[in-house]
């Protein structure tokens, strides 16, 4: 598949954290992948799988999650266009988490063989992928702090700030507005609180004039105040260039 030259989410994502040469960009553009449309709330890969390919989110929202023996789900990160949520499976044989769509997604499956070949030919792309998985780990660390030690109101504000900055990095925001097809029940699974509690903090954030959240649309009315409410500092996202100014 070839993308519209102006918008390839994988390249946009990598370029938000790593400087690519024209040649490297072209090699990424030509990476063979099988593109599949997947409905909302479907597993893309499951814990225990031994994948021979990695999945690139081309459009839509997905999440990485784990489940307790009693069936309770913890979403450990949201996956946005440009993300390769199971890139680690290139080196770790057995998946220790699952990835599910949240909204309908277009997913590009890239054979590990093709990724290995690309990495052999372009060692700097290996560095870029390494950097990407290191940043994924930084996001997990931030989420442990968020879920473990922050109040629900702060947790929610923090996650909304993160989503806006990450979506902006791949060109999917307009000012402080973005699509946000994440339900309150899904936020509950991500924040480790009940959906009733999520609803309370959403109502509180609205009442405080920080956000408008209706349907699938988020509008941040006061970015500085939301960042303050969420104790949000984008350093852990390690964005480069103009994205770093968020």
């Amino acid at each position: 598949m070839t993308f519209h030259p102006d918008y390839n989410p994988m390249i946009r994502k990598i370029e938000s954290i790593f400087m690519l040469t024209d040649e490297e960009r072209q090699a990424l553009q030509q990476l063979p992948m099988q593109v599949v449309s997947i409905k909302a709330d479907q597993d893309v890969v499951r814990e225990g799988d031994r994948p021979s390919r990695s999945c690139l989110i081309l459009s839509g929202f997905a999440c990485t999650y784990k489940v307790t023996s009693a069936g309770k789900r913890q979403i450990v990160s949201f996956n946005l266009p440009g993300d390769i949520p199971d890139l680690q499976s290139l080196h770790l044989k057995v998946l220790d988490n699952s990835v599910s769509t949240i909204s309908p997604c277009s997913v590009g499956f890239i054979a590990h063989e093709a990724l290995r070949d690309l990495c052999t030919r372009y060692p700097r792309i290996t560095s870029a992928f390494w950097r990407e998985t290191l940043i994924d780990a930084a996001i997990f660390r931030e989420w442990v702090l968020n879920v473990g030690r922050r109040e629900a109101y702060t947790r929610m504000a923090h996650v909304l700030c993160e989503l806006l900055v990450r979506l902006r990095a791949v060109g999917l925001t307009k000012d402080y507005t973005c699509d946000l097809p994440i339900t309150q029940a899904e936020f509950a699974d991500a924040l480790g609180v009940t959906n009733v509690h999520v609803n309370r903090v959403v109502q509180q954030l609205r009442a405080d004039g920080l956000i408008e959240l209706s349907g699938d649309r988020l509008n941040i009315l006061d970015w500085e105040k939301l960042k303050q409410a969420g104790e949000f500092d984008s350093t852990y996202l390690h964005l480069e260039g103009k994205q770093a100014a968020a």
Binding site: K72, Q184, A185, G192, T194, N195, V196, H197, V198, N199, R200, V202, Q203, Q204
Partner: protein, 81 residues
């Protein structure tokens, strides 16, 4: 299991009306909150705001009415004996 209910106001900022739930020996088991009709996920339902002892944990269900809440609490306490 006999439960004793006592109305209370809960200062959670949004849903004020609640109910304390005691056992026969007047030990506090749970605090239930009556969610407002404006609540977007479970309007008008009763929510396990806090549970103590065997009701403590991450599971905070909502109930259609107080009977359903009491049945759940009784079941949870009975099951763990």
């Amino acid at each position: 299991m006999t439960l004793v209910l006592q109305p209370v106001r809960v200062a959670n900022g949004i849903d004020g009306e609640g109910m304390l739930v005691f056992d026969r020996e007047h030990r506090l088991l749970a605090v239930l909150t009556h969610l407002s009709t404006k609540n977007e996920v479970a309007p008008g339902q009763w929510y396990l705001e806090a549970g103590f002892g065997r009701l403590e944990g991450v599971n905070h269900p909502t109930f259609a009415d107080l009977d359903a809440a009491q049945a759940w609490i009784g079941h949870r306490l009975g099951k763990s004996h």
